[in-house]
Symmetry: D2
């Protein structure tokens, strides 16, 4: 059993980590921390976990955490992560960081969208934790920057396609729709029940911080600069993210061609399910799971390819993917602890 700590355990991503690790067959949750709830039993904060998780939230100390755990998940706001992670890596811990702090290769891009980076050295060795693409690098990583939810939902359908001769990589448009849990557990008017319920809006149009993240990964993957147009939307539901991507076709391509390409790219990837032509994903079908379901359509009249992905933003978009990364870093089966069943309803 590997010993695991979750830093920032009472936010939604942290709590979902606690939930998943609790049921992991080869991991033992030995420490959880929370600034806000230090000293309180986790099950007082999340009564759902009464009788299941018996840990009490601790204040963070790098020493105590390092003593208690082999692997550390840091589910902290950006900037806070970069203050905490170096000390854990220095102590030889495997770290999966869920903030944006270790997702970028180019610190200038990070600094343009976030703020001054105080641990630039680690950016060189940190690995972008998208396991379907960077499995080998993750195996050898000490520090994984866990992808953002939006980039995960954009990259998984797009990467198998983007190098194909039949698409124009300069034509990518991604229109994403997210449930409200993506905004986290911190209270704000934007997450107030009556402001979200029965409403629907776009926000940070063409200005969201996840846009440069997906662009950097796409550019590195393609070996040339790629810029996408990206619009996030807030949808009145708790979990789930649906992304609809539009790309220009430069040649005629059939829907079967696209099916074959996707099927073959993800043939041995346990968490990607390719819909059969004519069927489209629904966030309800991935709720509570680490799956990414991918559907597609060829708009023959306008020569465009439409790709659609569905993930649970808290699982494949955050904590499930983080555990998948941990599994790979530790040499465990990629799916260990991630076989929780879909919610169905």
């Amino acid at each position: 059993m590997f010993k695991v700590a979750v830093i920032g355990s009472t936010g939604y991503a942290g709590a979902e980590l606690v939930r998943i690790v609790s049921a992991h067959p080869q991991a033992e949750l030995t420490m959880i921390t929370s600034r806000q709830y230090a000293g309180q039993p986790f099950s007082d904060v999340y009564p759902a976990m009464a009788g299941i998780v018996n840990l009490t939230c601790q204040s963070f100390s790098a020493e105590a955490v390092s003593e208690a755990a082999d692997v550390v998940f840091t589910a902290l706001p950006h900037k806070t992560s970069m203050e905490v992670v170096p000390g854990l890596v220095a102590r030889g811990k495997k770290v999966v960081d869920l903030s944006a702090d270790f997702r970028f290769k180019d610190p200038a891009v990070y600094e343009a969208w976030y703020e001054p980076h105080e641990a630039k050295d680690l950016l060189k060795t940190a690995v972008y934790g998208l396991p379907e693409i960077y499995f080998d690098d993750i195996q050898n990583a000490s520090l994984v920057g866990n992808p953002g939810c939006y980039p995960t939902s954009v990259l998984l359908p797009l990467l198998p396609i983007i190098k194909a001769t039949f698409v124009d990589p300069d034509s990518i448009i991604a229109d994403s729709k997210s449930g409200a849990s993506g905004a986290g557990r911190s209270v704000s008017l934007a997450s107030h029940y009556c402001e979200v319920n029965e409403g629907l809006k776009a926000y940070n149009v063409a200005k969201h911080r996840h846009n440069p993240e997906m662009d950097e990964v796409l550019s590195l993957f393609c070996g040339r600069t790629i810029r996408t147009t990206f619009t996030p939307h807030l949808v009145p539901m708790t979990r789930g993210m649906l992304t609809t991507i539009y790309v220009e076709l430069t040649e005629d391509v059939s829907i079967q061609d696209v099916a074959s390409l996707l099927d073959s790219f993800y043939a041995d990837k346990p968490f990607v399910r390719i819909c059969s032509p004519g069927r489209f994903p629904n966030t309800l079908h991935v709720k509570g799971t680490n799956y990414c379901d991918i559907g597609f359509q060829v708009a023959t009249g306008t020569k465009r390819l439409v790709l659609i992905s569905a993930i649970d933003n808290l699982v494949k978009g955050a904590s499930g993917q983080a555990v998948q990364n941990m599994n790979i870093m530790l040499g465990l089966p990629e799916t260990a602890g991630l076989d929780q069943l879909p919610f169905l309803l």
Copy 2:
């Protein structure tokens, strides 16, 4: 007072017509029909209207309807409308039809997407009921084909822009999100509470019947063939439609340029509100109203314009717009009966 009949009064669009006409200062609701609920008081079907609407649903008869009303709203399934409308027009009634049957100029397009058209002659004189564009034609029309909800949400933000030299009219992508009332009141698994709630999906991707409708209007407006890529989505809420449109820019354009163009195009249109730059519409802000709110962003890095519209699919997307058309046909103030306040929450 003009006398008004609503044919098909117990579907959601029909009931919303009943609701709006009930409070119209210059219209009197004199007859309502319903095949399914003939003989039943309307307020038994919609108990909300107890004490407000005291009519009983009738079976449809062209004679009786024509005797009772000056203006007739037909809120029927397509095909049923084309069976009913000619007899009403022949009797000299003003008709606003909410089905697709009288929206198309080219019967071949209608027939390719729907079915054989049995009242082609009327297509020549029927007017497409988008008042912000076709006000003059509607004034003189006997028969108005009330636009689909999706085309309304796409055309209003797009038409002011599409002839500008700075956009490429072949690059239009429209990504629409609709609340569940758009699917109507007929029961089906797709509209079953537990299948919609907490789910999010695309459907009829690049194959929705509203796609040729918006394309025909755009083409006629621009004087050349326009084809759009259109994806509708179903969102877990009752009312509301948000559409995000992407167009390529062929020249540099500032967000102020776009603001000016939209502001000036809609300067005297009472039901279009242009958001100030940096603010985006929310379906919650138009719920229960005939407004179309329009926001926009210039994605400078990718040289695209993003337009976003919000409407209430049952009001500006259906019954409110139908009443607006009636007002124009009758020479009434365009806003008569349509000043119901937003719901706020």
Copy 3:
């Protein structure tokens, strides 16, 4: 036209007042105040009202408000109200207060559940603003304490019954279910979208502050002490309140007897609708309206009467009832400005 001010205009009750007064045929909204948004246009806070309400939020000053308005609605937290109201009453204004500060006759009860009362003198002349019961007193009042949402939903079905010989007034149990807007617009974890959505809970069981309020009214009405058992619940929806009341029958009574009693009690009351036997109210049927719908059942096997009421907690449960009180105080028709149609959906 009477001039109206709304103090505390940006909370949900205040904004709903702004909404209703905006459309009132005999009232003009001349001033709105907001501590938090002073200096900002109301339509920046509630973009739904763009083009409809053109007022800017002011800081509160008793002088300025008194100069601008004949009638003042105070939609403030309790305690803040009692600081503001005396100055307005002293200046001869008609005041409808939506807090708890002027609902109680007995200051000791208020102080036991809230805090020290600083305007006890006004309690003697303040009238409890339940117009279906206290119409005459409201006509002559300078200051009306607008009832709480829960008491309104309990008292309207119960008062016509409670003096009947066939019920035991010591057996009242009220089980209420409220939408989330009842908790107001102040952000808190309890009103955070993901904590409310898909959840259902009781709170303040037998300890809610509205319990002594309904008990005092019942006791005064019956001329003896009445104590009810009251449980409020939070339901995942924005608007609406459903209350189910259980009372022991001391004699056999038929459902028709109950129907007759309720029908006759509310015969000339425009905002109470009695369901026919076998039909039960639904909050969806009163959404956006000032109606209270009342249903009932006789549980013959257990000799209990079940009464069920549905209101919109923001309208009949707060701002609509406040406007109804204003109408009565000003000698206007009771329904003026309150004929906004139900939302239907």
Copy 4:
């Protein structure tokens, strides 16, 4: 590994059985049947299960089912169950029936509320499957009548209390609130998204079929006739049931007394969690689990005890409890396969 069949696998209770049994460590799902979807892969009906459940829905045949399985869950409408179950029992199968057909001891009561019973003999040996109470009987049963969701939510909090000297067993009132999945997957206007969303209503007030079911169990348990007043409500959410129960106190009792009594009654019951005094259950905390959370309050002023239970209506209220019964019938650990984590959100 025990072989398991699910008859009626595509309704919500059936699908939830498929879900739970799929992950059961000592059970293998060998056959699923569905009249409506015979011949179709289960994952076409529930795409969430793609890659997890690879079975195809079969038509029902008693022979084929008996050959394929040791244990059979019948998740069928009442009446259909009684046609199917006798043949399975006759073939020596262990059967857990989720309909009402085998829940009653007294066929006359069943027939008064349902219809003529065609397998009365089996009523004598069928066991009411509430494991916290009838564990021993279930161990030896061939046929278990799985309790209704409402009776489960009423009986678990009430049975430990009802024989106490300090309560009046003739004073029981149960006010239940259920999510929409309780109405099943068959389409109907009552389960149509727009009719449920943002609405709240009582239905079958004092006339619900689950009322005689809970009354019979209570009466047998107490050795005297007990009649409860029961009101079910429909709440706009998918899963979850909250029941609030009111009982008169005949003596003074403290909240600690009640806590002790409940704690001790359920000391060794893995699926009942007693809230500490002052905390109340929330359906969100049991979503996806087989837990029943129980809270309570003493209303000292009115001498009543308030008991509140929360369950997931599809799990402890249906399929989870059915698997719990199977575990007991087979001598497996009671919790086997039922340790799926709560959904948290």
